[in-house]
């Protein structure tokens, strides 16, 4: 079973600290001074409407639709999460269409394609399919979880999922009893 980051909408105050932390965590240089406003691609997005305030991000689906539909086999499951091989991404957006959570963000930006000879150097477009990668490059785990001022964000491990289910079954059993006529 995969791990995933979950946001409790009853705890979220909509401060967007998670978005900024996410962007900083995915920069080559994590310092705030290296922040580039033109590359602001948080992998979780705050939703705020008449009913709810909460960030939405990848659920690391077991049978991930994004992985199933990728025509270039850029998305796969490993080590309890869904990975994107950015080198393979062609920016076709099929994964974004397939994702039921709107958690996949396909971005494209100009890059300089380096070559051994300056003669063959050229400007081209690089596409990336961005989604929560649980900050697997980061020893301390997901940056969003660490910075959330109200602890609305947390990592749900498979064992915790089991525990939660057990607890819900217990409650359901008690509820069932009260519904049975004597």
């Amino acid at each position: 079973m995969n791990r995933f980051v979950f946001a409790d909408p009853n705890q979220c105050i909509g401060c967007r600290t998670c978005e900024v932390a996410c962007v900083l965590s995915h920069q080559d240089d994590n310092r705030i001074s290296a922040f580039d406003p033109t590359r602001f691609y948080p992998r979780l997005t705050l939703v705020r409407n008449g009913q709810v305030t909460t960030p939405i991000m990848c659920r690391q689906c077991e049978d991930a639709p994004c992985a199933q539909v990728c025509p270039n086999n850029a998305i796969y499951r490993e080590n309890g999460q869904v990975h994107v091989i950015q080198e393979r991404c062609i920016g076709c957006k099929t994964c974004a269409v397939a994702c039921p959570f709107g958690a996949m963000n396909v971005v494209a930006y100009p890059v300089e394609r380096k070559s051994t000879s300056t003669l063959f150097a050229m400007n081209t477009i690089k596409a990336q399919a961005l989604k929560c990668d649980l900050c697997d490059h980061r020893q301390q785990g997901p940056a969003c979880v660490e910075v959330c001022p109200t602890n609305a964000l947390r990592i749900i491990e498979p064992e915790e999922m089991n525990k939660l289910n057990q607890q819900k079954r217990q409650e359901a059993a008690v509820a069932a009893l009260s519904g049975v006529p004597l």
């Binding site: 009853n10 705890q11 979220c12 105050i13 909509g14 401060c15 967007r16 978005e19 900024v20 962007v23 900083l24 705030i32 922040f35 406003p37 602001f40 705020r48 409407n49 008449g50 709810v52 305030t53 001022p149 109200t150």
Partner: protein, 559 residues
């Protein structure tokens, strides 16, 4: 605040009135969530569905400007239904008869049309508040930034008195302050009528003490309030203005009037960390250090003194605030010198009995000391009025109610919408600190936003994120529409930190008669749709660049 921020978690009923913790104080919002998790009932009175309203047990979306009527109705129910603590009132409060008399006509039914709330909702809310074993009230600028503000503050405090919610943990009243360290500036005597430690300037005994300590004769009359400076300049009683850590050309109501006041001064000195628009108008600029560049003592909203330490060195030739004050005083013929901030703090302690025991030593290790702290062996005070001993001359609470006064400038045909100024989480106050943070800029940037209800937007033929003109009788600014189902119809909301979309060009300088705070929360405006959005986007960029260039030029001229 009468009680501590941490005590929010201990209350059984949290009554939040005109206060948006999620945007103003995320840390307090965290305590509110903890209170809720601990089982407290949460009641929110706010026209907008703020984050606390979203998680509240009951949300009362009252009409803007109806605060006093609603509070009177709460009091009316307390009396009519016998929900108040008659023993506490008899033992510890005065003016009960007058109080009853004033609120008599404010039945929940009577205020239905004023507040837009149903009588039953009002009854239910105040029953919850009165019946909880510990109830705490929190309020913010939604109470204090009206022409009728102090009355409402007293009205809220009276609800706490009526229900015996003072002098214990997890009760009381919490005016959660509008700025960081605004509590500190009050504590240190920045109010025009008191010396440090809330000692009145017109009290002969107090004045004699300060005259002795400072070795100079002192004036027995209170000073001027900021909002009366306009008249003072006109009649020639005020000629110079020394501003530090404040950007009135951004934050005052009716900016055109404020600029006129500033221009009318013979001398304007501004001490700030960045080139603000106020600084741009100054005759003399003293560059100052930011919070990370100096050490100091802060007061939090719940009267807690905390030390803060220097993390980085300021740029060369930039002096600490206290050093600048010493040099200024000396230059004006009063030699003033201190070796360090502790020396200054010890002087404060020696002349302000409330703070006498709050030593640097006790604040060591990031500890906080809450005043009153009268002696060195006193631990500080988490909650005020223990044993229901109040700080009034006779030691008793003074119940107070007042007739409701509607806000001054009502919408009409020409200006059909109400404008209320609010906060947003990403940018702090006038933005002189957060405006230079690129991450926060990315989340929200010029020209800022005007929040409005989808139906109001539809009526104007307006789409979300379009640029619009917002105009009042005092000015006109361009801003971006944020169509938002959390705001009420007929009212639009703007945050006051933007340079281009500066909502204080529109606000009205209608003052509360006691606090002299302007009615930032209510004035009439209209919204004009801009057909050519490409032109509008270019206009914003051009104006923003021009303003930045002007400030940059002024800044480099001072080097």
């Amino acid at each position: 605040m009468s009680n501590s921020i941490t005590e929010i978690q201990e209350t059984k009923c949290l009554f939040v009135f005109g206060y948006n913790a999620a945007d103003s104080h995320p840390i307090v919002a965290k305590h509110i969530l903890k209170a809720k998790a601990n089982g407290a009932k949460v009641i929110v009175c706010d026209p907008r569905m703020v984050e606390t309203a979203r998680i509240a047990d009951q949300w009362l979306p009252l009409k803007n400007g109806s605060n006093m009527a609603l509070i009177n109705a709460f009091a009316n129910v307390l009396i009519e239904e016998g929900l108040y603590d008659s023993e506490f009132v008899a033992l510890h409060a005065d003016h009960f008869e007058e109080y009853c008399e004033t609120v008599k006509k404010y039945t929940p039914e009577y205020v239905e049309t004023i507040t837009g709330l149903k009588a039953e909702e009002i009854r239910q809310a105040i029953r919850t508040y009165a019946n909880a074993s510990e109830s705490m009230i929190l309020w913010g600028m939604g109470v204090t930034q009206y022409g009728q503000a102090v009355d409402v503050v007293k009205g809220l405090a009276s609800l706490a008195v009526m229900t015996g919610n003072f002098g214990r943990r997890g009760v009381g009243v919490g005016p959660v302050r509008g700025q960081n360290n605004v509590q500190g500036t009050c504590d240190m005597g920045m109010l025009p009528n008191v010396y440090p430690g809330y000692q009145n300037v017109d009290d002969d005994e107090v004045r004699a003490k300060f005259e002795k300590a400072w070795g100079v004769p002192l004036s027995p009359t209170p000073g001027y309030t900021l909002t009366t400076l306009g008249h003072r300049v006109k009649d020639g009683t005020c000629k110079a203005y020394y501003i530090f850590g404040e950007d009135p050309a951004q934050t005052e109501a009716d900016l055109a009037h404020l600029r006129k006041t500033l221009r009318g001064m013979e001398l304007v000195i501004v001490q700030d960390i960045f080139m603000t628009q106020t600084a741009e108008m100054a005759d003399v600029i003293f560059p100052a250090t930011s919070w990370g560049e100096h050490e100091c003592v802060y007061s939090s909203a719940d009267r807690g003194f905390q030390r803060s330490f220097q993390a980085i060195n300021p740029p060369e030739n930039v002096k600490h605030d206290w050093e600048i004050f010493c040099l200024m005083a000396t230059a004006m013929g009063y030699p003033m010198s201190y070796r360090n901030t502790e020396e200054i703090w010890d002087e404060v302690r020696s002349i302000a009995p409330l703070f006498a025991g709050a030593t640097y030593e006790k604040m060591e290790g990031l500890k906080t000391v809450q005043w009153p702290c009268p002696t060195v062996d006193h631990p500080g005070t988490s909650f005020l009025f223990e044993g229901a001993k109040f700080t009034t001359p006779n030691g008793r609470a003074q119940l107070f109610a007042s007739e409701w006064r509607p806000p001054l400038e009502q919408p009409d045909e020409e200006y059909p919408l109400v404008l209320s100024t609010v906060r947003e989480v990403g940018h702090y106050s006038c933005r002189s600190m957060t405006g230079n943070c690129s991450a926060l800029q990315t989340l929200a940037d010029e020209p800022g936003y005007v929040q409005m209800h989808p139906d109001d937007a539809r009526a104007l033929g307006l789409r979300d994120q379009q640029l619009v003109w917002v105009a009042s009788r005092r000015g006109k600014v361009i801003t971006r529409a944020a169509v938002n189902e959390r705001v009420n119809m007929g009212v639009v909301y703007m945050t006051y930190q933007w340079w281009i979309g500066a909502c204080n060009e529109l606000t009205i300088e209608h003052l509360d008669p006691i606090s002299f705070t302007p009615e930032y929360k209510y004035c009439a405006v209209n919204i004009e749709v801009i057909k050519d959005q490409t032109w509008a986007e270019n206009y914003v960029q051009t104006e923003y660049s021009a303003l930045k260039a002007k400030l940059r030029k002024t800044a480099s001229a001072t080097l």
